[in-house]
Symmetry: C2
Subunit: 366 residues, 2 copies
């Protein structure tokens, strides 16, 4: 019996933390979930086989980047994004809203949408809420995100409120633009660092038939406390029975703390980007393989880890590769860090099932 | 029954081409063999698992590079090069002789040895023939190369003859310096582009108890015809019953032509380096994935290939990765190119066994 696409089942809770499953057109994934980031249809250096091996169940790609290169039409013609990149499990695409923030100098906003000056060839490209849905449907992804305006930290309340109006209007237009039900559609709670605006945004979106709700505009430079507060006020006003996705977050501590606030899904470049800087996550925190102390250590990165890297290589070898600019080192660190994150999510899910998540969370965050 | 280390068995011949096996301390490999290059204890971007999957049976590392970083003593303490890099099959190390050529501006030669100014930190490091054997024994490799002077193309006969004297003297000193029989020791035929000197070198080395004989100082800018001639005159004067290794060669055509002249072993950076430039070897020659024509092609790189890359991805996807600077693209091309080379060697071996190698060679070189 095929499960209904979009069905979100919460199997256990512990405080506000929830364990569940979400059904997509490319299978079911477990929540809380961490999505490795594959912006340009590739998780840095890793093959799909390796992603499967480290138990990734869903990955994230980017609408803006893929639409510019190689173009969604080409990917559509070649059978869709899953076939194109050889990944047969769920894919979520970010909408381009984050690029409104990160490429602020290369874009112009209007009520209609946003015009980017392409970071590749400088050409003008226009994204409206409708166009962004069209691109994601052409890519054939499992979870689509609405176009939104992601603000930097430090914007005043009036400007944030005006921006939220735009984002709310775009969300409604996005829902109307959707042509089929294979791709789930998530709304995005914005509202900057203002409790009142976050509450308004969450309530407004909740009244509309989204398949899930994201919390956006965080992890943009604000202090951790504000990240927690804004997450809490957002989840508090989102429907219990729908999945919640905290965009672009975060450190292992951020993830545990946010699960405690009722978040179900995460994505972040930290495990992959930090690998490129020589950093490995371990049970006790992290180590920087660029530090010369590791050049002589015969032990694995983390003796508690069973990833391909830890099963086969010493810290000394990884440090040698990093010092010698051998990209195999970064590849092995990427495998290890993503494995660490996936194991963290599995531990979180087990702790929720066993109703000892609060304990787990206290021990983890300290 | 454990086979004797160093035993070379020729199971079939076709003209001057030979098919055989060589026994090393880390197992037997088939010849003619191609050794992927892992200069710094890593074949660019690939894991040992992937090397096994594409049927590599022996790889090459570099004495000069590993002695400088991370140092042979450290590798020795950590259990030797095989354990360090997670590769349990045969390893051959180049001696540093090629660096006398490639780092000509950073070294000083004397009868005693060569002093390099390290390409890493500028420090002086001295390599004598004895020291190079000591390094390789500490690394614990299966096949050691003697230190030799590798000359550029275009050196006159008198200078080449003087240089050959030095190389011959170093070869004798290397044999005497060897402390155990676990690492086989190969002599290297030099003599530049002079038939007379190559003949002298091959004869002189043949009188000494080397486990195998390399042909060095080729692929240094000379025309293909000269490469063939110098290979031929070298193999003609080497003992039939010992393995012959043509260093740093070459293109698929060079390899087939050299097997025809009686060569058993090869190493070359072409398949890995060209992958980094976006080039893929295919049955009909090669294609450059940087060319925009491939961006829309749904077929694999080579429909005759069964490597991980060709089984899972289209030319369009690889081209997208290359254009987007996603290193996964280079990794997949590296897998494909090395698979192409290993399949070529398997085809060569089968053709020799079936006594149709001359036919095969004619069809291949055209």
């Amino acid at each position: 019996m095929k499960e209904t696409i979009g069905k979100f089942t919460i199997s256990s809770t512990d405080g506000n933390a929830r364990r569940g499953t979400l059904v997509t057109a490319h299978g079911i994934f477990n929540t809380p979930a961490f999505m490795p980031v594959g912006t340009q249809a590739a998780v840095k250096l890793l093959s799909p086989d390796e992603l499967l091996e480290l138990n990734a169940e869903i990955i994230l790609c980017n609408t803006y980047h893929l639409s510019l290169r190689p173009g969604e039409e080409l990917i559509g013609k070649l059978g869709g994004l899953h076939k194109f990149m050889g990944w047969n499990k769920p894919i979520l695409t970010d909408s381009g809203g984050f690029q409104i923030y990160s490429l602020a100098k290369r874009r112009k906003l209007s009520n209609e949408g946003v015009t980017f000056q392409s970071h590749i060839d400088g050409k003008s490209v226009f994204f409206s809420p409708e166009r962004v849905i069209e691109i994601q449907e052409t890519l054939g992804v499992d979870i689509m995100m609405v176009l939104d305006e992601c603000l930097p930290h430090g914007v005043d309340e009036h400007t944030t409120s005006k921006s939220l109006e735009l984002t709310e209007n775009w969300a409604t237009r996005s829902l109307a633009a959707r042509k089929n039900q294979n791709g789930l559609l998530f709304g995005i709670v914005q509202g900057g660092m203002f409790e009142k605006l976050r509450t308004r945004a969450a309530k407004h979106l909740s009244e509309q038939a989204f398949d899930g709700y994201a919390i956006g505009g965080l992890s943009v430079g604000e202090p951790t406390e504000l990240l927690r507060e804004m997450t809490e006020v957002s989840t508090a006003h989102l429907p219990f029975e729908k999945p919640r996705y905290l965009m672009g977050v975060g450190t292992p501590q951020d993830i545990v703390a946010s699960v405690m606030l009722g978040v179900d899904m995460f994505d972040c470049v930290i495990p992959t980007r930090n690998a490129r800087h020589g950093r490995a996550y371990i049970e006790q925190g992290h180590i920087d393989l660029t530090n010369s102390v590791f050049r002589t250590q015969d032990q694995p990165l983390d003796s508690a880890c069973n990833c391909y890297c830890c099963k086969n290589f010493s810290r000394a070898y990884i440090a040698h590769l990093i010092h010698s600019n051998e990209l195999l080192g970064i590849r092995l660190l990427t495998i290890h860090n993503l494995c660490f994150y996936q194991r963290l999510m599995a531990d979180i899910r087990a702790a929720i099932s066993n109703r000892r998540f609060i304990e787990f969370s206290r021990a983890f965050i300290g």
